[in-house]
Each structure stands twice: as structure tokens, then as C-alpha cells.
Amino acid sequence: MMAHLRHRLVVVGHGMVGHRFVQAAIERGLTETHDIVVLGEEPRAAYDRVALTSYFEVGDDALSLLPLGAYDDPRVELRLESEVVAMDAVEQTVTLADGETLAYDQLVLATGAAPFVPPIEGRDLPGCFVYRTIEDLEAIREAAEGARVGAVIGGGLLGLEAAKALSDLGLETHVVEMAPRLMAVQVDDAGGATLRRHVEDLGLRVHTGATTTAVLGDDHVTGLGLEDAEPIAADVVVFSAGIRPRDALARAAGLDLAERGGVLVDEQGRSTNHPTVWAIGECAAPGGRMYGLVAPGYTMAEVAVDALLGGSGAFTGADMSTKLKLMGVDVASFGDAFATTPDSLELVFSDAVAGIYKKLVVSDDGTRLLGGILVGDATAYGLLRPMVATDTNPGIPLPANPEELILPASRGGGTGGVVLPDEAQVCSCNDVTKGQITAAVADGGTCDSPGCVTACTAAGATCGSCKPLVKSIVEDYFTAQGRSVDRSLCEHFALTRQELFEVVAIHQYTSFDQIVAGHGRGRGCDVCKPVVASILATQLNGHVLEGANRTLQDTNDAYLANIQRNGTYSVVPRIPGGEITPEKLVVIGEVARDFGLYTKITGGQRIDLFGARVEELPLIWRRLVDAGFESGHAYGKSLRTVKSCVGSTWCRYGVQDSVQLAIDLELRYRGLRSPHKLKGGVSGCARECAEARSKDFGVIATEKGWNLYVGGNGGATPAHARLLAGDLDTETLVRYLDRFLMYYIRTADRLQRTAPWVDSLDGGLDRVREVVVDDALGLGAELEAAMATHVGGYFDEWKATIEDPDKLARFVSFVNAPDVPDPHISFRDERGQAVPEDSAGPVLLGATIPVGAP
């Protein structure tokens, strides 16, 4: 092809690594010179295969790496369901299943790997499956319908994942492993034995050292035949006996292959005998070795793009350390886990009862860590990983008594952040060192808690595996300083908000006097009183201006409006989902005009009217209530708005009625008092025009229902909400939301938004999922009942206020001169509206004004 023309780059395979390659190509400008055609065999765009097992839980939209199904770069063409059946490395063409032939200047093979199915009799019987794609899982789910027993051939990482899936589908599940232990590649015999006990406790049947000789059955699977052992009856069989690089195209085209398979490529990913062909991911064998993990594949993709741009990046092997949670069991394996280094020593701690096994492999002189295995408790992983010494990296010298690194705290050990030198990298995702973490909490620093450190330094913000270490480093530091993290509310209560919430619930208190008498001291302050007010509001559902609790209310709640700098207030009527009729718009306009209020569209899809004098509030609200408006709670630590996009009603992309759901949710949770304000959003499709993921709870429509995201935040430290559960029907969505919000209200700290709250929980989002989705604490019904009480007991605070003379009494300018307006308040004109004039100081009214008792 001639130089002045654009080049064509063809990518075969749109999986995790192929996708990463295209992303990098776009980001780094390769598409300025190349048109990219991506040919993918699967019916859907790349998805997170690593999380495949969560498919049944969250659905395919949630797993997708390209939710819109196309790249927003016109020079990239993605073709799905197009299998490449042949390639010609000399003519530089590829041929598709439908016979079409495409010429290329550069060809990138990203065809991944395929499960290895041993050549045994019966392997093709109906009821036999592999575990690699969403289609595989669909098929398995279908087969599980009528089935009772499932068997997985292979007890490795993937085999156990498949086994979990089968038992989640309600099958009695067997795991058949040829090797003498589970996860033979990652753990040793003792570790394997510990892992096995955990797996068996979950009700799975494990057969190790068992060789499958045949799949039994005539027209459908009936069981497995084993070498010198009783056959196992089973009606679903999943092969998970390892993977093989998908190198068939390359083989047929005469490319060099590694001896154990995989396209042989150099350090940049270029085929060793056809320089216009590249291979990345699991189908590639850089230096003769293939890598069955995604991270090395991603690195290969980045390196290949770099090379195509003339860069010199290289892939020189990868750290195969793994840490994962299998069926709730921590398993980690890193460095020279099997002590293959000559004269290396092993330090082992194991606690059969607790199901914990930890092994460290150290150099003969005991000064360097070479590797290790952790089963049952991998909290030390974050600490140990950076310490490991390799040929290229000296690692970090071991402390005098290395066993402390794996001993439980009770036995003299600890997660032991102390032993790390300051330069040790604690968070590998975000490259944060121990020094940076201690600096953040040191006197000069800005942080006082692990959560804050994560927010400020990003340590723990990505994969989270380093969080326990971050926590222990902070705590160790505080202990060393003789500092303790004081979580008491204020001088009047030595309790956290959560503890206070429980105390109030248990004793069924109804007033501040009871609470302070029983559990506090003094008469309270501007910190604890609003907290108590909020707790009582949640538990009693009364009017916030009722009786003695009135004086507990914070500035804005106290007048059901937001105070402004000049002592006037703003008025925000609720506009559920941002939907409003022209008639109501007119009313807002008239009220604003008649009372001379500054009017602005807020960031929350509603309208804010500023500059109301305290005595005007009841008059304004009388007009609004008569026109059918109600309080928008802009003043409360409570639900603000549920932002919507126009959704399927109008939008040509919409797949669900996002406006209806936003309105329903806003009306359901309106008035709900909480530790901090709550905001929601609902988008009608993956384009996410409602910015739902910037909210405390965000809902995004899918073809099948709704994806629920939680813990989003704008403000000072923005955070994207993360997926809690996917493809929910509306009823389930609401049930999960009820639970989520009540759990937050009960356990969060004062002024803690949902984002930092989720991070503050041990286990973070997973913990929330356990409680809300799996109902691990058995709290579900209680939380839902509490929410039902709120929904049932809701009434409009403003309507109730204007109908009650006692409550209105406070809305006056002067107690002894109700008709004298506050002379401190004055306005000037700006852009045609009234805005506060700066106050010069206290104003003295001419003594001419008649002053008398009411």
C-alpha cells in the first residue's frame, strides 16, 4: 500500500485485551494514521471475563467494557459475530466465515485462549460445557434448570469459580481434580488442604488425585467415570482442565509458535517470522511463554501500540502473583511460592480451626522474602508483595523476626505496617508509599482516618487490596504517637452517631432531655443537637418543628428553608424528577414576582427562590401549597432530588421510563432524614444523561431492567457510584434501595455522605452487597419495615406548618413589633433581579417607630 494512504490495522478478537489495545490506539493517536477494523467472534462487545462468574448476579450490561457497543472514534470499525477463518501472512489478508476477504497493513491477533477439553470418551454428550463466555454460562443455567447434580473437571482457579456457579444454581456440586490438591499451580499441599476444608464447608464435594476416564451416558450426561474409584452421578459436567492459546489461524499461516502453544512474539509483541503480524493477550507467547492472566495481556496491548507508534516499550515477563477471594475464601500466592530457590527456608503458620494457612519463603540468611502462600486470611498480602525480592528487584529487607508478618495479632504479630520502610510501595494501583500515608496523618498532614487517607492519597481507591494495610499503617502510627482516633460526637456525647442511633432505638427515647440525661452531659450544642434531631426524625417520623425537638434543629431545618448570607431564606418547592407542568411553572413565576424573589434554576433540576424574609415564608408557602407544591427539603439532611433524563418516553435511545422511576423514587424517599443529604438519579439508557453515577444512588436502565449503583458523590471529593446489582425488576430495585438507605442512615457518621460511608465499612462495597443483596445480617425485613413506616408516615412539613398557629408564631420579624421589617435586610439590583446588599453593621431604627408589647 502506498505511503500517502491511510493504513489499515485489523484486530482479530474483541476480548479484554483486544479492547484494551483499541482503547490505547485511540488514546495515543494511532488512529490518526491507521483505520482500525476489529473482528470479534462473540455476539457482544468485549466484557469483563475476569468477573464472568458474577454474570448471574449482575447481567451482561454490567460486565460490558463497551456499553454502547461502539467506539466514539469514527476511524474504528467494530464488527461482532465475525469469525476470522483464515489469514495469509504473505498476501496480508484475513478471510471471514462468510467468505469476505480483508487486506491489512498490520494484523493484531488477540484471540485469547480456549478451555482445554481432554480427549476422553463422551466429552461431546449433551450436558457437557466449558466455562469461558457468557453464552457458556447461559447454556449452563439452562441445563441446571432440570438438573440435580453437577461436576466440574478441574480444581484450579477457574474450576472452583465454575463450581461456585453450579452450587449457586442450586446443584449438588462435585469438583474432580487430577492433582493431589486444589489450585495446584498456586498453593502447596498444606495450603490446598486448608482451601479444601473451606470449600467442603460450603457443601461442595471435592475429589483430588482423581482422574476422569470418561463421561458416562448415552444421549445425555449421566455421570463421570473415574480411574480406580466409584463413578460420580451427574447431569451437568463442566470442563475446566486448563486453557490453550487460540493459535490455529497463526499455525495454518505458518507463523512461529511456542512449543507449548501460543504465537511466538518478541518483547514488543511482533511475530518472530512475520513482522506485520502482532499477537497480544492469552494467544501470545512472548519469549516462548503464555500468560493466563489479564494484567500481562493489558501490558502487551500497551506495548504493541507503543511499538506501532515507533516507541521502544517492551514486555519482559510479568508478576504472576495472585490474590483472590474464592467463595469468600482469601487465597494469595506470590513470588517463589514453592521454595524452588536453592537453600530457601519456609516459615509456616497454620491454624486448622480457623482455617488459616500462611507460608513465607525466605532466603537462606533469612534477610529477604522470596515468596509466599496465604489461605484463609490474605490481609498480609498488601504488606508482603512489595517486600518480595527477585533477580531484578532487591525487595525490602525482612525484619529481625519475620514470622511476625504472618502471626495473628493475638500472637505478637499484626498486619505490621510498622516494619515497612517509608519508601515501600503500599498501593500498587496508585503507587503510594508508606511514607506518603504517614505524612498524610502526621501533624502537618490533613487526614485523621484511613478513609480520609484513601480519599487524599488514592491509596486503596482502586482494587482495594491494600486497604487493610493502609488501615494498619494509620493505626500503628496513631498508637506510636499515643494518639487514638476519637470518634465521639462532641463534648456532650462520648458516642458515635451510630452508637447514639442504637441507644435511642433500644430505649425508644423521644426527646433530647432523656438522651442527654441517660448518655451525655451538659445541655448539648450545635453539633449533637442536630444529630439527635435527625435520629429522632428517622425513628419517630414526627414534624421537625414539633414541641421540644424544634430547638434541636439546625439552622435550615429550624425554618424549613435555607438561610442566606443576609439572614433571608431561599424557597425550593419539590419538582419530582424535574418534571413540571406549565401551570405550575407559571405559579412559581408569579410567586417569585409578587414577593420580589431572586430566581434561579438549580443544579438539582428544580427552581430556587432566594431572598424571602422570615415573616414572608408562610405567605409564600400558602400560595405554593394551594397550587399543589410541597417542601423540597433543600434545607434538610434528607433526600434532595432524584434527577432524571427524559428516557424512553421521548428519547430515541431510551430503553425504560426513567422519568416515571425518578418521580416514584423521589416521592418514596422525600422527607427521609439522614446523616447527610441524599441525592439520586435515573438514566433511561447507558448514555447516562442524568449523571446518575454521580449520586448517592444511581439507576441506569438496561434492556432487561435496571442497574443499581451506589456511593456516588459530587462536591469536594467526587466519586462515581459503583454497581450494587444489575438487571433488577423495579420491585427488587426498590427493595434493595430501601435496605441500602436505611442501613446507611443507621450506621453512617454525622455528615458522612454515602461514598465515604461505603469506603469506611470493612469490606467496602462487598459488605454493602452482603447486607443489602444477600441479606447476610438477616436485617433485610427490618430495614424494609423501617422504610415502610417512613413512607406511610410522610406528610408535607410546610402544609402542616402553615396550618398550625403555634408553629407560625416564630415566623415574625420582631416578637414585639411583628409589622416592622428587619432593617438589616436590603437588596440591590443585579441582572434585573434582587440580590443581598452587604451589611455595614447593626442598624438603629429611629426611635420614631412605635414599640410596644403585643
Partner: protein
Amino acid sequence: MTSTREETGTRVCRLADIEVEGGVVALVDGEAVAVLRTYDDEVFAVSNYDPVGRASVLSRGIIGTRQIDGVDVPFVASPLHKQGYDLRTGVCLDDPDTRIPTYAARVSADGDVWVGAKELHEPECD
């Protein structure tokens, strides 16, 4: 003139018109005065003007106590930026250099609340 006022002062409302640990704002000699009632039914009068937030709002603040040298000091927190003011002296608890005027205040036997003249000196704490 001022002296006579000091004896009589201005009757601003009934004690019952002020919530316990609540406040009202009264117009006294043309000045906006916050009249605040503590838990033990003591009544204090201070200027309603928040010198930090620069607005006439203090009567709308939360009332409570702050312990200072073992004494529970009755205080009001500004509704704007939460600075606390000692109800007895008007001194800002978060910035001793800031101080708001205080006024003599008393509750008559029959439950009327009276506000007297501005207290120019340290009040002899009653």
C-alpha cells in the same frame, strides 16, 4: 433618660413566648436584641447582630452549653457559621477578640420578659 430605662427597661414578651433553649428577636430602643431562654429558664439578651456573618440572626441559633474550666457556659451558636457566644458576657468563644453587646434582662414575677439597657461593663454574673 437612659437611667430610667435601666430600671424599667422594655417589656418585650411573655416568658411563655420563648421556647426553652430557644430565642426571639425584640426591637429595643430601635435595636435588634436577641432574647434567649436557657434550659433552667434563665433569660439572656444579646445583640441579634452576628459580627462575623454580618447579619441580624443570632436569635435563630442553637442554644446549649460549652464546658470551659469545668463550668458549663450557656452559649448560642450563630446560625450562619456556628461561632459560639457566651450569653453572660457576649464574648465569642471561638475568637475572644470578638464580642457582642449584652443587655440586662429579667423575668418579672408575673412572667413578663424585660430587656434593659446595653451592659457596658463586665456583667456581675447573676
